[in-house]
Symmetry: C2
Subunit: 349 residues, 2 copies
DNA sequence: GTTGACTGACAAACCGTTTTCCCATCTGGC
DNA sequence: GCCAGATGGGAAAACGGTTTGTCAGTCAAC
């Protein structure tokens, strides 16, 4: 059995109350008394039971993280940031995977409530607004990498319009004038927003992105591979391709290379997500929009801590993207990635 | 403020003791009394505070998961399985990323101890034995996807020897006789074990895998790409390549294709990890060893629950792999992946 | 009518902390 | 010698549950 504060008090020859105060630096007592208490605690390997503390303090220093997206590519990328932000307040993360199942989600919400978490983070896909996790929960909620379909909730996500703009601008810098966009299904809000951003970038330069140059398909490598070939036939004058993610971009790059098209000299390619393992290994390495998910996680964490302190900020906050510039659309750089926009925060940096 | 059991008791017109028993199905009482209590709890939205319960029960129904590997490719793959196993006992997961930093690790162990977790899972890289997380911890520990450098600890990991054997056997089935192995640094125990497994498979068929056919390099796509070209020059008779992971395999497949070598007709290729996004999109799609990490997570979870119940099983347990058969080494199948070995458990299946 | 077994519910103690309130004992000034 | 104000420490009451022990009432059997 673990040592209790009673054990500490007994060994130190003081009362339980004094032991508590001694360990927490509260109250007034002779320095040697405090020292004796601390020393006894050390000998016994005493660690105050936080569950018991939370009974009196009213805070558990625990927050839940409910993912609706499983442990795919995006939630884990945020986790480190969330954890780093929370550790500033010595909060711990309780993990739940609702797996797109409303029953499971309800069950987890109940479990988190029973554990009296101080707050909750809900992560999802950025693609579309998601239903709120419940109303009148006894703790603040922050939606991360998704938006709640309720203005009174707090959502923090990625600025897809900005990402699209950043990607298109990089192609423009490269000198492209005939830009095509290969992306995912138009039913996704994120897809539409990225198109809008790209369009804005082109308009700023007196160009345009007609619907005929926007191709929708699945978010996969095969789709990019085949779409690139098709594009060459229907729009042979295209000199820049903006892709909906790095998988599409990889398919495009491979497809073009196999057809003897030089990237970026004949056609420049820009990806999205900056999934390093894929983007950096493509031949040539892909210039790609980085959503700064580690930083998003950090901001979500600090925002939740503020909300726990009573300072809530309802509404949707969209964080800007960066772009990692590599050889597939270098625009005046060498081979190493060069950052445009905020340099991304990374762990331990 | 959340409703307490005192509120429930007052509304139901019974004592606190009776309310507790009524809600937990214990004690004996008139059915209508129990019904009245349950009804009152429902009206008030009462959820028993688990932190308070844990004070008397001695169990927190919380287990920690400490990763030494960040949230890379392997730990998230196990998370779902761990969670599914733990949910059978309504346990929750407390997440900690030690990030290869001993100080941070010590800090997290302290925090988990203070929270009185029932048990701990430590995940790492399978590549080499790892130091124990500490001795005489007040809860059982299971090492997952890594092995502790102490026989008295419980470790559950992947059988790399079996994986290597499975991969080589698939190449043999394909009819390959001159097999080469492109893999990671020989300092990794996992690398050495896979070599041993491959060697065993060849020996069983009267063939051998000489050291000259084993090439060590980084675990990356570029390494595979360049090693494939080099191999063609030095060992032009090679007809099968066993790769240390899917990234290497992808580099190999792309490299061979660009040189006009047909995969699998001229040279068959087998990958490792079955990282679907990469393996299934390669041209041709990669046959690849699957480590069944979801299942590993499940088994780790149930093993920890047993240990919490007092039933510990010290030692190292190595779980067999499967192999997803695709076009890069089809050996009598079509284009869809075919499973050899145990069909992998997947969530919700 | 007494005994004994059983039923249904309650009071109180307990889990491990924190916090509030109060009580000795000094100290110094008159 | 007496009082005010520090100083150092303890007793007890929370916090929100669970569990133990007890007790009044009911009922059947002798």
């Amino acid at each position: 059995m673990a040592a209790t504060i009673r054990d500490v008090a007994r060994v130190a020859g003081v009362s339980v109350a004094t032991a508590s105060k001694g360990l927490n630096g509260k109250g007034r007592m002779r320095p040697e008394t405090r020292e004796r208490i601390v020393q006894s605690a050390r000998e016994l390997g005493f660690r105050a039971n936080r569950n018991a503390s939370s009974l009196t303090s009213g805070r558990t220093f625990t927050v839940g993280l409910l993912t609706r997206d499983g442990y795919g590519r995006f939630t884990p990328a945020m986790l480190g940031g969330v954890e780093d932000a929370l550790s500033a307040d010595t909060c711990s993360l309780l993990l739940c995977d609702a797996r797109r199942d409303a029953v499971r989600e309800r069950h987890y919400i109940d479990a988190l409530t029973a554990r009296r978490v101080d707050g909750l983070i809900v992560t999802g896909r950025a693609t579309d607004p998601a239903p709120r996790v419940g109303r009148d929960l006894p703790f603040p909620v922050v939606y991360a990498y998704t938006t709640a379909d309720d203005e009174r909730a707090t959502s923090i996500t990625v600025d897809d319009e900005h990402g699209g703009w950043l990607a298109a601008r990089q192609l423009l810098r490269q000198g492209c004038t005939q830009i095509a966009h290969l992306t995912g299904p138009p039913s996704y809000a994120a897809v539409r927003q990225r198109i809008a951003g790209a369009r804005r970038a082109l308009t700023e330069k007196g160009l345009e992105l007609p619907d005929s140059h926007v191709v929708h398909g699945p978010f996969g490598e095969e789709a990019g591979y085949h779409a690139a070939r098709a594009l060459l036939e229907t729009r042979p004058d295209v000199d820049g391709i903006l892709c909906g993610n790095d998988q599409i971009a990889r398919g495009v790059a491979d497809g073009l290379t196999l057809l003897g098209v030089r990237v970026p000299d004949d056609i420049a390619v820009v990806g999205y997500d900056n999934w390093t393992l894929l983007a950096a290994s493509t031949r040539p390495p892909l210039t790609s929009v980085d959503m700064n998910l580690y930083r998003l996680g950090r901001i979500v964490g600090t925002t939740l801590l503020q909300a726990i302190d009573g300072d809530r900020e309802p509404g949707i906050r969209r964080l800007p993207c960066s772009i990692a510039v590599r050889a597939s659309c270098p625009a005046g750089t060498g081979d190493d990635p060069v950052w445009v926009g905020d340099a991304p925060l990374v762990p331990d940096a």
